[in-house]
Subunit: 251 residues, 8 copies
């Protein structure tokens, strides 16, 4: 609530056009719904321009369903990290489309409004990084972006990524997903003049330490303009890409 809004409210109270109870309510009006186990943030769509996304990991099917319903019957909803064994039950209860590759459930009840200033490139280093890359891609698409998938172009065969230079440069923002040594964002970041969001994955073994090697590699990237999200956090990267890519007029 902006100071101007508060001033206007106070003037209305002074003028008698708004009663005390109503004013008190307006000053207090809290943008969330309490479910007991969860406090659903229904105003986030207003505040950030996107609906709430439900992080499926560690939630029961019942909890996911309840939260999804609390968002209202017309909301577009994205559930991430859907366990394969919960997918059928969820789609039965909520409808929508389950996508195995990205481990997501999508409920598209209203047309997705295109919001991006240009394509979001989702780039991955290896075959095994695909689930994380797809989570990023699907998230960006749900938030109104066109996505260009450029997969399996890791740095050990550097010509593979160089060959894609034009597509990389066409993107307005790039999500680069890699496990093992996590070097791909540095190379991509050096090739383009656009924001690069690096996503380390837990792909690897031994001294990859579940993605720490890739994470450290990306944090120490010698290419300027690279920022990093948590290990395997495809959703976070897709969401950040959507925020970056958002056209002002549809924000």
């Amino acid at each position: 609530m902006s100071p101007d809004a508060v001033k206007k409210l106070l003037e209305d109270v002074q003028a008698g056009t708004v009663g005390i109870a109503a004013a008190l309510e307006a000053l207090r009006g809290l943008p969330f719904v309490e479910l007991g186990h969860s406090t659903v943030d229904t105003h986030r769509a207003l505040r950030q321009g996107f609906p709430e996304v439900i992080f499926g990991l560690g939630k029961t099917v019942a909890q996911i369903v309840e939260v999804a319903r609390a968002l209202g019957p017309e909301a577009n909803v994205l559930v991430t990290r859907v366990r394969p064994e919960a997918a059928a039950e969820l789609t039965a209860a909520l409808g929508g489309v389950h996508d195995e590759a990205s481990r997501t459930l999508r409920l598209v009840r209203r047309p997705i409004v295109p919001r991006g200033r240009g394509p979001v490139a989702v780039v991955s280093a290896g075959t095994s990084d695909q689930p994380v890359a797809e989570e990023a891609a699907v998230t960006a698409e749900m938030l109104g972006n066109e996505v260009d998938r450029i997969y399996d172009v890791g740095v050990a065969g550097i010509h593979r990524v160089l060959h894609k230079t034009e597509r990389l440069r066409r993107a307005t923002v790039l999500v680069v997903v890699a496990g093992m040594e996590g070097a791909l964002p540095s190379v991509v970041g050096g090739l383009v003049g656009k924001p690069v969001i690096a996503v380390p994955t837990s792909i690897g073994y031994g001294a990859s330490f579940g993605g720490i090697a890739a994470l450290l590699g990306m944090l120490n990237s010698c290419a300027s303009g690279v920022t990093v999200v948590n290990i395997d956090n495809g959703f976070g990267a897709g969401y950040a890409a959507a925020l970056i890519n958002r056209r002002e007029e549809v924000a």
Copy 2:
């Protein structure tokens, strides 16, 4: 070199308007200058739209001067991590302005073209985070952005940051700098619907482990849209903010 450019070059060769030696040269023409110790990337301005920034840490004064000169007499140059004791020598050799708070040297030879779509907010949690915050702010300014500094608004006195909500929301991109537990980006990320770049600082002691606590906190932020750079990497955050904020027409 784009495919179209190569096609054009080949057509010129076929037509005889370009000789073989010249064509070979063109295909080979490499956008860097070799200094022995450094290979200066003079085409980066073309490739990314910004001049090369010189990372001062671990370079001798002579090396910095040589690299700065290799960028040409008209380039705007930013030197970061300038050691206080090297500042006088550097300004004597290169001119420019040394700024102690941000540990930078700025050589502004041409007017800085405004490139941002809106203000970049640089937000910091504590007094001691200021050098990193200033490095981010100065970098963003050098790259053509208006910067709104919002300092010392850490989460232990949550009303301090809440009071700044309007200014936070006016920014098109936010750089949030914090040491210790690094919680500020989560709070800011929840308040705004804009990209947040989190910068952990090495401020703290004991189990802050030189910034690891803040870094982990930021990577695990429960607010969507937060991305992270290396500990104390104010430059990287300012650079990424500039890439994100860049108006298409001046890219």
Copy 3:
């Protein structure tokens, strides 16, 4: 045994009212029962004012039953970390109430004496933190405290926790449970002037490292008066809260 008690005992020996064997016994009288596998501390109730709590993790059902019985038929007993598959067998052997949410078994044979100076607030950041929060809440209740549960008020939607400020301030001690970046105790600690016990949880993935991120965040809290217990240690937090909250007259 206090010096005065020893002095009294010696005087009794000197006076002949206590025999040597009895005195020796008194000086030796050890406040525990040996079960072979365990040495049950039956005097803890005297020493700390609370009964022994049985940590169920890593104990067989038979061991838990034997320890519970060694505490005497009238003791109130709390078993924590009860494996779901052991619950039926335990309640069959011991009676009592198994609570799935907190993973506890409670044997309430005598009325629980109210011991607190005020309510203990148990605050949690997310839905998945609930088992740990409930373990803290149930422990505090078993030890004679009124508990006020304030759940799912993580910092990414800061208005959720701010809305609860009055309830937070009414508590005499607060247990704040959070995973991921563990920022909630800092915010709560800044809002209230009461002891805050922070409990990191293992909720998260990737660089949360099984709760290390939250643990470090809490140890580095910029809010004064925050103390921390082990990852997922809801019991420890509830127990410490009870010690802090205890009214002198019922200690």
Copy 4:
């Protein structure tokens, strides 16, 4: 500002006894003073019942002086982590007493009101832990507590701490400071039925890893009711002890 206060304010506006500007101001009135580098939280005394303590580490003498003055001429002020070489300059500017053992500067302008329900015991394991123990002790004293210092009673000579059992039991809250393996809080926690705040110190070498060994030992304490603060954080322990020990009638 409580809902009742807001309601009252609105009624006053409605009644015309409070003007819009004044009401707006009241709703906005922010409890801090902006110094540019710092945002001093002058209302903390109200909110938490104690004055702000200035953490001296990483602040210039000028910054400390400015913050101390912003707290007002009558405030009792505690500056911690005072560098020995800054002490003279600080006392010249601010007055007060510098204490080398605890690395603090105390400005006691008004009598310190006794606030504790009983003595705070500050217990240390070894000679080298003394600076941290003293920081805790001085902090607790400044906040109105009687402190009982019990030093150099580490567990390798277990009779030393056992001999102090009566004094330990007289305390209403205990701060236990130890480096190396950090075992003392477990032993003390088992001897008393009171809240124990464990403070790991960076004392040790090799695999003590700057206090990590002690920190982990304390977090894994097998004694119930032990909570932990950051390595070397004597101030935090003293502050938490004061919060725990506070008599309701003087809160």
Copy 5:
């Protein structure tokens, strides 16, 4: 082979009483048997005075059987870390006694010669440390030592271990087993003037990090004379105790 033995051999060659082939063989004679997958060290009994112990973890039943047989039909053999599901098959093939508590298989074909100078005390902190303690105890027994088991005497109830002081002091060497904060060896080491071998266990959760907390605690023990073995390495502790305790005349 000692220099004297070599000298004697050479003299025999010179004298013609030993042929070249035999001498070459003697100089080469290698004290091991090659099984393909394993190179069994049959002379270790000679070299160290004890038979080889077979570490069962990561070996197939067939491999264990083959190695056990290679040690000869009269050797006393100890197999450690026997998986419960492999026990029946192993005893069927080799005979011997499987002990679940210590996870060992013992083949006692010859009377075990008493070798110790006094009893070995095996001391444990908690019920869950028992498997590791038993592995140490059984190992020491197999190597000819009398073992005094003192279990569940962790430091949180310090009177439990103090009550055992006399038994602790009677031992010539002590193995002290503890998980969580690993403080027991420090207390025991301070009570006795004998070698203490500390064994950290992986018992604990959260910040115990699988035994790291206990390991670090023990390495930083403030009691002199404490040495440490790997996490859960009951065998190693029992073996070292046997080496320390060995009477010279039976070495």
Copy 6:
């Protein structure tokens, strides 16, 4: 594509013997095949002289089969980290030989050309290191090398490895595989004047931390000429050994 080749191509364009489209194609011709999920590098045989090896971990059977087929019907193919349960399906689809010890599938369609300058010794410390050692050995054999396996010669029985000195010295390159403390490469590296590739394994428990102890031991080897690969990376060691051992004339 070498500069000479480019020059030749340009001359052909100039001479009209190559058309623009063809030249453009030649300049672009990319040495890989896109499969959607994977980008198979078919020219690696040219570039490095060996066929692509398929890392089986984290790939579905269908993906492995598709990649194997993309390498062409005449290629020799090595699949590593074959899950036992996938072996039958893979051999049904592709033919070839599955080897359980090394967890590999080998498709030898053309005679393997001997490429080594001498034997590659693969040395292992313990029985449990065998799968990693075999992966190295099989890889080296598939790449045209004779392999000398020297197994179970760990340093605790130092005579075992010393006895093999002659065989160690005959090798032109040595792969030394060890878990636990990883000391074998130091000893071997001191015995021979040849390149030693050290492979830490995850064999061990407790403070071996899944191979970190062995990895650090090998990185800190006091023997010159030792280089290290990732934990359990038998393939990488075998591949590097093959590169080192390669005869120039068959490269």
Copy 7:
């Protein structure tokens, strides 16, 4: 105080031969002297058979002098980790001999009673490990042991240590000191049938991590009977060796 002694005391009280005050005193009599900063354990000589050793690190010269004096004018005293710049002042105040190589000060006022059953071998891997090795050697000597120094016999030149096999085998206990990969104790442990105390040193760089690599190597030693002390803890190793080596009749 043993139960028998207590019984005897009680009988004396009953008999009137000991008064209450005296008995109380006897039961209380505490074996330490309080110095304010330190609580000197004067009875340790009785309890463990050795005088207290003063750990010099982190103590002022004045504190060391005061503690040394509290031990009595006839005690043999060993001060370890003596800073070179404090040596002159200490010897001026206390007398004794400062030894630079071991960083110790020795006050030998009474003849050192030989206490060992045989020689203690102190073995080191490299030249730089000497200070730690000497600390161990001097400690063992002060506690009544003959020491055999075997230095610079690291495993990269394995013949160096093999050449010393006879001397190694003559020792009754061995202290083995090594930095870098810390492999020497494994080799020595395999050569002898005696207790081996391994001391990791902080010698090394990069991935030696200040001695962690050596520490982990030693904890994972494949040789049975190896126990480990803290990084650089020469004193602890020498002390443990003395405890192990002690002849019963002089204990």
Copy 8:
């Protein structure tokens, strides 16, 4: 000593042409010189074909001089990690050439015999990696190799390294030096079919953790044939390169 040599010696003893004392001596003859502090391995030249290199770090000037002299007046000697302040003293005592860039002292008394099969490429990512790269280059040169230095070609400007592809491919072995994210070896390893030795450097800040990020990146390299040495270990890489590159006929 080979079996054949032993056989021959025994035959000589049998034949009386070699006396017992001489034979004993020959069997014992140990290839090292004992200096007290060091045991110089004079036969390493024989055993490995290269002279001993003296690691200067942590040795006094006197110790370095003594070791250098023990290697004989005709030996070529390389001293690494020469502290700048020790250089003058060392060259005064030993002669030779001090090179600041590589921190080495070279004593070339005999012509260096070319031993390589081709050039060794030493490749570095950034200006600050130069000291480590030069240590590798100088080591390789001292051991008889031609070195091709290719510096400052980090992956953020990928065209820099691609432009050097031909020179990279001409080398028979490559040493690739990089700090920060350590990605260069992966790219180089993908471009060439030759052994690549990766050297992580401690260049970087924050989450580079003194070279850990680069080390992990290199250990997880997705390019086959990459092996790794310790952080900043230029010497080790140069030495390994020389072993790999050695022509058989000059070994």
